[in-house]
Subunit: 291 residues, 2 copies
């Protein structure tokens, strides 16, 4: 696996980490970046994250044998339409987007004959953004979900799988629908829970937040994520998120009922159940040397 | 400020950190521990956290000039009743409990003539427990709330304030009632939010939790806290917690309504509002060199 020309669309935290991981593992000859902000692209080139950048999508796509979409998911469809005429036969197009579902089928349909699309999502990142925080180490030990469909080219799928394995990910195949259902529960719902928690404390009294300890800091860290990106994820994964918000509100209602009804035994059991599940997750991660 | 005999009731994460901080700053001649588990007390003595331990509360309290309650809050009242006859005139009794309110007045009333009670709560800790994780560094830069009442001895209050300042805390005085209202919002509510979030994901599908990234891990870290301690906090701060659970559920209902009604502009604004408030908190903490 070696790519003569790799195009990275969106050189932010994850796009830059992909570029750095490709260089680290010797998978790329030339990495070309694309983005809305030329200053950012110049910085990325100066730091050796990308080798060059393009200011129009035709130049970017021309001759590329690998194209990675690392832009906000709402931009995928229009960009796919623009690059399609320039893609060469045999090119592989992939992504790192947090939502799959319908988008995967739309991306497949946007590809010209002879170009494979393979959906991918490394479940990695942090609350930071931008190339300054980019680190190929975030992929080590992280799960990466590949979402092939009945139309996905098997060789291209294997190539993308191998690439993420080289980066240190544990790769797993899921349907686009199953991916979205899972991510809604363990990523999209927690983000909304964190946003709502900050807003609730602010509503109770804007001065109270200053008394926060590490518990509140940890619980609400992801509320610093981009509002636009998370709005777009809500747009694209709306049904799952609404279902899971209902499940969450049911759990909060249960706890409210126990406290209201002085049912302290059941309350402690509920807390204990959550604690056991969370400790099991911690122990699994510690065992794979991934905190 | 120097204490000939300090009694620490409850030698766990915080009790042990207090003992270590007192030794670090040369405030204590002899620290005597008390707890239900003699093996733990022996370990604490072997590690030099405490100098000795008592197996009955009379021996512990006799001759002590400082007594710190660091046991679970539900144990405070019965223990206060037991030690009262043994406390010497001029002794100061304080605590590190997460709930104040009525408990402060009850503790005051339990003290014999000439013994001062001063409520204190260092807002510090982590998801760990026990003496192995005890670290006096957790107090550095943390807030410590002192909750004097109209009956509190001013000199004793000043002594306790100075002690926590020596440990590195930013000390602030609040009424017991205000303390509980604030802590309900920025600590008790987030714990319940985290417990409920783990249980919601488990209810959705017990296998999904294994796909978690760092976002879910951070958001639910405090769900590993002791279920019994958090049940007791719900018992003692029930009214505030019920009010704040309602505020949180209202925020979740708002977000649900925006997603359900396709009101993406307002949704992004709500997310952005939370993000700004949380970033402000981060920046304040970074400025005081306390993450």
């Amino acid at each position: 696996m070696f790519f003569e020309k790799t195009a990275i669309i969106g050189v932010g935290l994850i796009g830059a980490a992909v570029a750095l991981a490709m260089k680290k593992h010797g998978l790329a000859k030339k990495i070309c970046g694309f983005g809305r902000n030329e200053t950012n692209l110049k910085n990325a080139r100066a730091r050796g994250i990308i080798d060059d950048y393009a200011l129009n999508l035709g130049d970017l796509a021309e001759g590329a044998d690998l194209v990675i979409f690392a832009a906000p998911v709402r931009a995928f469809k229009p960009i796919a339409g623009e690059i399609a005429p320039y893609l060469k036969t045999g090119a592989i197009v992939s992504d790192v987007g947090s939502v799959k579902g319908a988008l995967v089928y739309e991306m497949e349909s946007a590809m010209p004959e002879g170009v494979a699309f393979v959906g991918a999502h490394p479940i990695a990142g942090n609350d930071k953004s931008g190339i300054d925080a980019a680190d190929p180490g975030i992929f080590i030990g992280a799960k990466c979900v590949i979402t092939p469909t009945s139309r996905t080219d098997k060789t291209a799928c294997q190539t993308i799988t191998s690439m993420w394995e080289r980066f240190g990910c544990k790769v797993e195949e899921l349907t686009p629908e199953r991916h979205d259902e899972i991510l809604s529960s363990i990523s999209h719902l927690p983000h909304i829970a964190a946003y709502a928690l900050v807003n609730a404390v602010h509503e109770i009294n804007p001065n109270f937040i200053g008394y926060s300890g590490t518990g509140f800091m940890d619980t609400t860290r992801i509320a610093m994520s981009s509002p636009e990106i998370w709005r777009d994820i809500c747009v694209l994964n709306r049904e799952n998120i609404l279902n899971h918000l209902n499940a969450y509100k049911r759990q909060l209602e249960l706890i409210t009922a126990y406290i209201n009804g002085l049912d302290w035994t059941t309350l402690a059991e509920e807390f204990g159940k959550a604690g056991e599940a969370r400790k099991k997750l911690r122990d699994e991660r510690n065992n794979t040397e991934n905190k």
